[in-house]
């Protein structure tokens, strides 16, 4: 699919469909951002506005301008936009990290810097570990004193998907959805306070 074909295909998407896609993309981006450890890279100040809107608009723009190719055989429109937004987020974390490195001016500090830079590519794995550690802390803090949530968190840690959680707790999906939303809200508040 060349740029023109991609534009024609995108121009054919109706507003109602865009609205659904943008809503889903917003939820995905919002959730991804909420649990990022390096939130500074995605702050309003750094991005010049609402971070969620920044990534949603940016992903849409990169597809319309043809800067990113829509791999239709592999991804739906929503999935492709998620890939682009995810890549933009990683890129901004990388930029923020290297900006920190470049800010060091003296010779001694520059040597320290080079060492940091060499470790840089491994940092992503470290960031993942840090993110998981913080998330575990958040789960513990948010479920503390709440029997239902504590039980749910245990099932969450022991399961791979919704069906397994339902089986483990002998709850129906509706019940799991309610508790998941309750826990999500508490965790979002926890991270909001942490990132402020």
């Amino acid at each position: 699919m060349d740029k023109n074909e991609q534009s024609i295909r995108l121009n054919d998407v109706k507003d109602e469909e865009w609205l659904k896609i943008v809503t889903e993309l917003t939820k995905w981006v919002g959730m991804k951002l909420r649990f990022k450890t390096q939130y500074g890279a995605h702050s309003d100040y750094n991005l010049g506005g609402n971070p969620t809107a920044y990534y949603v608009d940016g992903a849409v723009e990169k597809l319309f301008t043809g800067e990113w190719k829509w791999k239709q055989e592999k991804y739906t429109l929503l999935e492709q936009l998620q890939v682009i937004a995810g890549s933009m987020m990683s890129e901004n974390v990388r930029k923020a990290s290297s900006a920190k490195i470049k800010m060091v001016p003296t010779e001694t500090e520059e040597l320290i810097n080079l060492a940091d830079r060499e470790d840089y590519w491994e940092e992503e794995e470290e960031e993942k570990e840090e993110k998981n550690r913080l998330f575990d802390e958040a789960l513990a803090a948010c479920s503390e004193g709440d029997e239902e949530l504590s039980l749910y968190v245990m099932a969450l840690q022991a399961s791979q998907n919704m069906n397994e959680i339902c089986t483990l707790l002998a709850w129906d999906k509706r019940k799991v959805y309610v508790v998941q939303r309750k826990l999500h809200r508490k965790i979002c508040n926890y991270f909001k306070q942490r990132n402020e």
């Binding site: 023109n4 534009s7 024609i8 995108l10 121009n11 507003d15 865009w18 609205l19 943008v22 809503t23 889903e24 917003t26 939820k27 995905w28 919002g30 959730m31 991804k32 649990f35 609402n50 969620t52 809107a53 949603v56 608009d57 849409v60 723009e61 319309f64 301008t65 993942k128 993110k131 998981n132 998330f135 575990d136 969450l156 840690q157 791979q160 998907n161 919704m162 959680i165 799991v176 959805y177 309610v178 998941q180 939303r181 999500h184 809200r185 965790i187 979002c188």
Partner: protein, 135 residues
């Protein structure tokens, strides 16, 4: 990525996306975003992108058609076929006949655009194809 390979955070996000599927309002409220204003702004952005894109597509199609027409004119002129050349003059009118007899390569994009000005390029391409079919 398979679920077994996903981190707990990513699995949690997947579960939340499923749990909030019919509860968008609650999600926007948690995120402290005014849903209607936010979605209107996103949709306006898409509309702006769409307009730009339509204009670019039209421009590209027009350039492609201009190139096709120019190539056809070149072929006709090089063939020396008087019937076809006559047809060409008919299509463009007498004002542009002298230009057509010069080497077309010497005409730049603006000259060609000027020749095609207020003419439907598709009609011209079709018109140029007619002598071939008749011949």
């Amino acid at each position: 990525m398979k679920n077994e390979e996903k981190s707990l955070v990513d699995r949690f996000i997947d579960l939340s996306l499923e749990a909030f599927e019919d509860h968008e309002d609650e999600f926007f409220e948690i995120e402290n975003i005014d849903k209607n204003t936010y979605l209107t702004e996103r949709l306006n952005h898409i509309k702006r992108m769409r307009l730009k894109s339509i204009s670019t597509v039209k421009k590209n199609q027009n350039e492609k058609q201009l190139h096709m027409a120019k190539e056809q004119i070149k072929q006709i002129l090089e063939s020396g076929d008087k019937v076809k050349i006559g047809k060409l003059s008919q299509l463009f009118g007498s004002n542009y006949a002298p230009a057509l007899y010069r080497n077309l390569d010497k005409l730049d994009k603006h000259d060609i655009e000027e020749m095609f000005h207020d003419k439907n390029i598709l009609d011209i391409i079709e018109g140029l194809e007619k002598p071939d079919k008749e011949g």
